[in-house]
C-alpha cells in the first residue's frame, strides 16, 4: 500500500511547486529535495519486504491484467533507490547552482523527470512504461534547452526530434504486441508471448528496442547524446547521464529478459554493446577540448558496457550489468556535478582552462579524481568491482566469442585510461592559469562528498549492495516467478 506513494509523492510535489512558489520561493525550490528524500526513505523502508517477496500493488484496485500494477521487486526498488538518491543530491545541488530564471520551472522539470524515471522502473504495464518514459523524455528535452543559448536550444531540438521518432517506434511496437496478444500487462504479455506469431513478435521487439535504444544511447542511435549532455546545465547533465539513459537500459533489459524470451536477440545485443563501448570511448579519446563532451562520450561507452553485460543473457551477466549501472551513476553523477561548478568558476568548458584547478580546489579535485579512477576501474573504488564482475561474467560464458569481447572491454578500458588520466594530469599537474579559486559552497560540496563516500564504501565493502543486485538479477532472469507473482496476486 505504501509502495504506491513512491510514484504518487513525486507527482504531488511537482504540482505543489507553483502554488507554494506564490507564497515562498525558497520553500518551493526545496520541494524536489524534500519529496525525493521522502521517496528515498519509503524505498529503503520497503527494501526488507521486497527482498523477501516482490510487492505487487494494483493502481485503482482491480486485479493486474485489468488495472496497471506496480512491481516493486528488488530490481525496481533498487533502481528507485538509486534514482531518488541521485535525484535528491542533484536537487540539493540545484538550489545553489541554478541562477538563471525561471528557477521554479527548472525545479519542477527536474522533479517531473525523476517522477518519470521512478515510474518507469516500478511499473508493470508496457503502455504505462511508455507514458512514464514520455514524462522523462519531455522533461529532458526542456531541461536540455534550459540555458536558452545557441547550443542548448539546438541540442534540445535535435534530442526532441530523435527522441520523438523513438517514441513513435515504441508505440508501434506496443500496437503490434497488443494486436497480437490482446493485453498490455508485462507479466500477462510474457505469459502469452509464445502464443504469438514469431515473426510479429520479433518485429514488435525490434520496434521496441529501437525506440528504447535511442534513449539508452545504443550505437548507432546516440547522435543526440553528446550534444544534449554537454549543452545542458551541468546538474541536468548529471541527471541525464546518471538516470535518464540508465532507465532506457532498464527498459531494454526488462523487455528482452522478461517479456521476450529469446537467446538470439541477446547475442546481437552483446555485439551492439561492444560496438557502442568502443565507439564511445574512442570518441571520448579524441575529445581534447570540451570536458563535458568528453564525459558525454564516456557515458556512451559505459552504456555500451552495460548493454554488453545484459547481452550475456545469464544471471551473472545481468548482475554485472546492474553493478556497472550503479557505479556509472555514482561516478558520472559526481563528475558532472563537480565539473559543473569548476566550469562555473573558470568560465569555460575547455579542458585547458582546468589547468592546475585540482590544486586550486583540492577538495573538489580529490572528489573528481575518485570518480575518474572509479570510472576507469581502479581498486578500491566501485568501478573496479563492477568491471571485475563484467569480466568475470563474460569469462563464465565459456565461449571464445565472449572471451574475445571481454578482451575488447579491456582494450576499451585502456582507451579510458588514456583520456581520463590525461584529464587528471591537466587538472593536477599543469601550471595553473588562474589565481585563487574559491572552493564549492555547501549545497554543492555535500552531494559530491556523499557520492564520493558511496563510491569508496561500495568499492571497499561491495557486500553492501551485491546481495540486492544478485536478487535483482535473479528477478530479471526468472520470468516464471515474475509472471506468477503478478498474475497470482490479488
Amino acid at each position: 500500500m505504501v509502495a504506491a506513494l513512491l510514484v504518487a509523492l513525486p507527482f504531488l510535489g511537482a504540482f505543489l511547486i507553483p502554488l507554494v512558489g506564490m507564497g515562498s520561493k525558497r520553500i518551493a525550490y526545496s520541494i524536489p529535495a524534500i519529496v525525493l528524500l521522502a521517496d528515498l526513505g519509503i524505498a529503503l523502508s520497503l527494501l526488507p519486504q521486497a527482498l523477501r517477496a516482490p510487492i505487487v500493488v494494483s493502481i485503482s484496485g482491480w486485479a493486474p491484467p485489468l488495472s496497471i500494477n506496480l512491481y516493486v521487486g528488488p530490481l525496481g526498488l533498487g533502481l528507485a533507490i538509486l534514482i531518488s538518491l541521485l535525484g535528491f543530491l542533484v536537487a540539493v545541488y540545484g538550489m545553489g547552482y541554478i541562477h538563471a530564471e525561471p528557477k521554479e520551472k527548472y525545479h519542477m522539470l527536474v522533479l517531473t523527470l525523476i517522477t518519470g524515471a521512478i515510474g518507469m522502473v516500478l511499473t508493470g504495464d508496457i503502455f504505462n512504461l511508455f507514458v512514464f518514459f514520455e514524462i522523462l523524455s519531455l522533461s529532458s528535452y526542456a531541461l536540455t534547452g534550459y540555458n536558452r543559448d545557441r547550443t542548448g536550444t539546438e541540442a534540445a531540438v535535435k534530442y526532441l526530434i530523435q527522441g520523438s521518432i523513438g517514441s513513435a517506434f515504441i508505440l508501434i511496437g506496443i500496437a503490434l504486441l497488443y494486436g497480437a496478444l490482446g493485453t498490455l500487462n508485462m507479466a500477462d504479455l510474457a505469459a502469452r508471448i509464445t502464443a504469438g506469431d514469431p515473426m510479429t513478435m520479433f518485429l514488435a521487439l525490434s520496434f521496441l528496442l529501437v525506440g528504447f535504444g535511442i534513449e539508452a544511447a545504443i550505437s548507432p542511435l546516440n547522435a543526440w547524446l553528446p550534444d544534449a549532455h554537454s549543452s545542458a546545465p551541468s546538474s541536468v547533465s548529471a541527471i541525464l547521464s546518471g538516470i535518464a539513459i540508465e532507465t532506457g537500459a532498464y527498459a531494454v533489459a526488462r523487455i528482452v529478459y522478461t517479456v521476450f524470451p529469446g537467446q538470439g536477440i541477446m547475442f546481437v545485443l552483446a555485439i551492439i554493446g561492444i560496438v557502442t563501448l568502443l565507439m564511445g570511448e574512442m570518441a571520448a579519446f579524441h575529445q581534447h577540448d570540451d570536458v563535458k563532451r568528453m564525459l558525454a562520450y564516456s557515458s556512451i561507452g559505459q552504456m555500451g558496457l552495460i548493454v554488453f553485460a545484459f547481452g550475456m543473457a545469464s544471471q551473472a551477466g545481468a548482475f554485472a550489468a546492474l553493478f556497472q549501472l550503479v557505479s556509472h551513476t555514482l561516478a558520472k553523477g559526481l563528475l558532472f556535478l563537480a565539473v559543473g561548478y569548476m566550469i562555473y568558476r573558470v568560465g569555460s568548458r575547455r579542458i585547458s582552462a582546468f589547468a592546475g584547478l585540482g590544486r586550486r580546489m583540492p577538495m573538489t579535485g580529490t572528489m573528481v579524481a575518485i570518480a575518474v579512477l572509479s570510472l576507469i576501474g581502479v581498486p578500491p573504488f566501485t568501478g573496479f568491482m563492477s568491471k571485475l564482475a563484467v569480466v568475470r561474467a563474460g569469462l563464465m560464458q565459456h565461449s571464445a566469442v565472449y572471451t574475445g569481447m571481454v578482451v575488447l572491454v579491456l582494450v576499451a578500458t585502456m582507451i579510458e585510461v588514456g583520456y581520463l588520466l590525461r584529464f587528471l594530469q591537466v587538472l593536477f599537474f599543469a601550471v595553473p592559469e588562474t589565481d585563487e579559486v574559491a572552493e564549492l559552497p555547501l549545497s554543492a560540496a555535500l552531494p559530491i562528498a556523499i557520492l564520493a563516500a558511496l563510491i569508496i564504501a561500495i568499492g571497499i565493502y561491495p557486500q553492501m549492495i551485491t546481495g540486492l543486485l544478485h536478487q535483482a538479477a535473479a528477478g530479471l532472469v526468472e520470468r516464471a516467478a515474475y509472471i506468477k507473482s503478478v498474475l497470482g496476486a490479488l
Binding site: 506564490m22 485503482s60 484496485g61 519531455l138 522533461s139 536558452r148 536550444t153 497480437a180 490482446g182
Partner: protein
C-alpha cells in the same frame, strides 16, 4: 547518402510493418482483456462510456502520467519563452469588427460547451482532454480576435497547480480509504445519470480544467508579451 540510408530504413520499416500486420488481420475480434472491460465496466466503475472507465478508472495512472506530460510540455514552453525580447514578436494585425464582436460573443458559449464535454465524459463521447482542448480554443479565439489581449499567467498557473494537486489528492484518498491509489471511494450512483460513476466526473472536471489551463498557457506563452 542521407537519402539512400533514409530510403533503406523506410523500406525496412514498410516491409516490417507489412509482415507484422499480416498476422494481425484487420477488423477481427481478437479481444481478450478488453472483453472483461466491456462486460465489467458499468458494474466496476459506473461509467457507461467504457473508454472513460478505462482511462479514468482501470488505467488512471496512465492519465495521471499524461496530464504530467502536458504539464512538462507547458512548463517547457513557458521556460523557453520567458525573457524573450519584447520587440521579438510581430504585433498581430487588428481584427475586423465582426471577428472582435464575434469572439467576445462566442467566448462564454465555447467555455460552456467545453465544460459540458468534460462533465459528461462518463456518459457520452468526450471527456477531460477534449473539453480542455475546447476551453483552450476559446482563449485562442480571444487572442486572435482582440488585438493586445493578454491572458494573466498567475491564475493559470494556480489552476494548473490546484487541479494537479486535486488529482493526486483524490488518488491518495482512494489509497487511504480503499487501499489502492486512485481507487474509487464514492458511491457509483445510478447508471446513465450525471451524478454517478464515483470519482470519474470529479477527475474529469479536474483534468478538463487542467488541460484547458495548460493549453491556454502554451498559446499565451507562444504569442508572448506576457508578464512573468
Amino acid at each position: 547518402m542521407r537519402a539512400f540510408i533514409g530510403f533503406v530504413a523506410l523500406s525496412l520499416i514498410a516491409v516490417g510493418l507489412a509482415l507484422a500486420l499480416y498476422h494481425i488481420p484487420f477488423g477481427q475480434d481478437r479481444m481478450d482483456v478488453a472483453r472483461d472491460y466491456l462486460a465489467r465496466s458499468v458494474r466496476d466503475t459506473g461509467a457507461p462510456n467504457v473508454v472513460t472507465g478505462i482511462v479514468v478508472n482501470y488505467r488512471a495512472l496512465d492519465t495521471l502520467g499524461e496530464v504530467t506530460v502536458l504539464f512538462s510540455a507547458s512548463l517547457g514552453v513557458g521556460m523557453l519563452m520567458t525573457w524573450r525580447s519584447p520587440g521579438g514578436g510581430r504585433p498581430l494585425p487588428g481584427a475586423s469588427l465582426i471577428v472582435r464582436r464575434g469572439a467576445g460573443f462566442l467566448f462564454p458559449f465555447i467555455l460552456l460547451f467545453g465544460g459540458y464535454i468534460f462533465v459528461h465524459g462518463h456518459l457520452t463521447p468526450g471527456g477531460g482532454f477534449q473539453g480542455g482542448a475546447v476551453i483552450a480554443s476559446a482563449f485562442l479565439l480571444l487572442y486572435l480576435g482582440i488585438p493586445g489581449y493578454l491572458l494573466a499567467r498567475r491564475p493559470l498557473a494556480a489552476i494548473e497547480s490546484l487541479t494537479g494537486i486535486t488529482f493526486v489528492a483524490i488518488g491518495i484518498i482512494g489509497l487511504a480509504v480503499g487501499g489502492y491509489f486512485l481507487n474509487n471511494f464514492l458511491p457509483k450512483g445510478s447508471v446513465f445519470s450525471l451524478f454517478s460513476a464515483g470519482v470519474i466526473p470529479i477527475l474529469y472536471m479536474v483534468i478538463g480544467l487542467k488541460v484547458g489551463a495548460e493549453l491556454a498557457g502554451v498559446v499565451a506563452n507562444m504569442i508572448g508579451g506576457g508578464e512573468e
